[in-house]
């Protein structure tokens, strides 16, 4: 049962961290609760459907369908996060100003919310389908099934708790710096997901590794440790990265930064504050 709890916890953790960053980044946007919940519901539905179709996915594209689907899902999330970061570079300061004076959800931001709803759905989909397959196996196992399902439920709760703690921790950031901080987190999250996408494409042999293992820092912080796994999601840490992963990581980060600088500044110049 403990093993079940740990396994489910690990799968839920990544999605929970992503959801809490999304929740923080959408602070002050009208109806964000609705959009984030919709993302979770769609993700869970998709995870169950994907679990049923898993063998078909795996056998497609000469046996590497799983990797290609994961990479596609990750890159879709990267695009949505990039779009959000650039949108926030234009509107973040105005939002912070407004929230300081009104102190409530005031800004209509249905467009970024839709993009981030998709990010939530894709995160839940990816991690959820593994949990579903695992729990199906247990369900078929018989005798100790109930104890293990209980273990799984505890794992889900524990993962969600970490997400909630991160969210409330982020809320303590002063509102002046809040969106700058969450925007950096979104940027690093996107770069990390791009690196994971590269990892899947290498595993599928669709991309060259450009160095299978550039370094090995697992003696210092391993991928499978709790802290390593948390950093993997938050900033894209990998103890044994391939060269292509670094290329994806920095290309994504630089493109988003350039987008933020380009479009974020132009709006400020076009519409100066009235005297």
């Amino acid at each position: 049962m403990l093993a079940t709890t740990i396994l489910v916890f690990r799968e839920v953790l990544e999605a929970a961290l992503i959801i809490s960053i999304v929740c923080a980044a959408t602070r002050g946007l009208v109806r964000r609760g609705y959009w984030v919940s919709l993302g979770v519901v769609l993700g869970v539905g998709g995870a169950v459907a994907l679990a049923f179709g898993a063998d078909r996915v795996a056998n497609s594209l000469e046996g590497v369908g799983q990797e290609i689907m994961n990479a596609a899902v990750l890159m879709a999330a990267v695009l949505m996060l990039a779009w959000h970061a650039i949108w926030m570079a234009r509107h973040g300061r105005a939002m912070a100003e407004e929230m300081k004076s009104v102190g409530a959800a005031v800004v209509d931001g249905s467009r970024p919310l839709r993009a981030l709803m998709l990010v939530v759905a894709l995160a839940v989909l990816r991690e959820g389908s593994e949990v579903v397959l695992f729990l199906f196996g247990i369900g078929a196992g018989g005798s100790s099934a109930m104890a293990m399902l209980a273990g799984g439920a505890i794992g889900v709760l524990a993962g969600a708790t970490v997400g909630v703690v991160l969210y409330f921790g982020l809320l303590r950031i002063p509102i002046r710096h809040f969106f700058t901080a969450t925007n950096w987190m979104v940027l690093l999250l996107a770069a990390g997901l791009a690196s994971q996408a590269a990892h899947f494409l290498i595993q599928a042999d669709w991309l060259p590794a450009l160095g299978t293992r550039l370094w090995d820092s697992s003696w210092l912080l391993s991928n499978e440790s709790l802290f390593g796994q948390t950093l993997r999601t938050l900033v894209g840490y990998d103890a044994r990265p391939a060269g292509m992963q670094l290329l994806f990581y920095f290309t994504t980060a630089i493109l988003i930064l350039t987008g933020m600088k380009t479009w974020g500044r132009s709006i400020a110049e076009v519409s100066p504050a009235p005297p």
């Binding site: 199906f136 060259p208 299978t212």
Partner: protein
């Protein structure tokens, strides 16, 4: 971004065709790997086929190889690993960690 990806994919396809790939197979039976120790050549890319003869799903995972992939019941998957330095690379089945254990030995 798309252009970069397309460019990378083009390079990748050429690379994959030119590469010298060694093929190897692992079988999962009663939540155990057969063979538990699989010897592969070092310095070559390896196309590893994992056949799952159990009815339930398994997740092939290795920290040292930096790989993880689901294998649905009564099904098979392909995982590309390496080229590897000579050495021992343990792997396991994440859904049955007490029994499903093994190692890839590169030499």
């Amino acid at each position: 971004m798309k252009l970069i990806l397309a460019g990378c994919l083009a390079i990748a396809c050429q690379g994959a065709m030119a590469a010298d790939i060694h093929e190897a197979t692992l079988v999962i039976q009663d939540h155990r790997f057969e063979p538990a120790e699989l010897t592969v050549p070092a310095g070559r890319k390896i196309k590893l086929t994992v056949v799952n003869n159990d009815a339930t799903a398994e997740e092939f995972e290795s920290y040292e190889l930096n790989r993880e992939k689901i294998v649905v019941g009564n099904s098979r998957i392909i995982v590309f690993v390496g080229p590897l330095e000579p050495g021992r690379y343990p792997f396991f089945g994440e859904f049955h960690m007490d029994t499903a254990k093994g190692s890839l030995i590169a030499e």
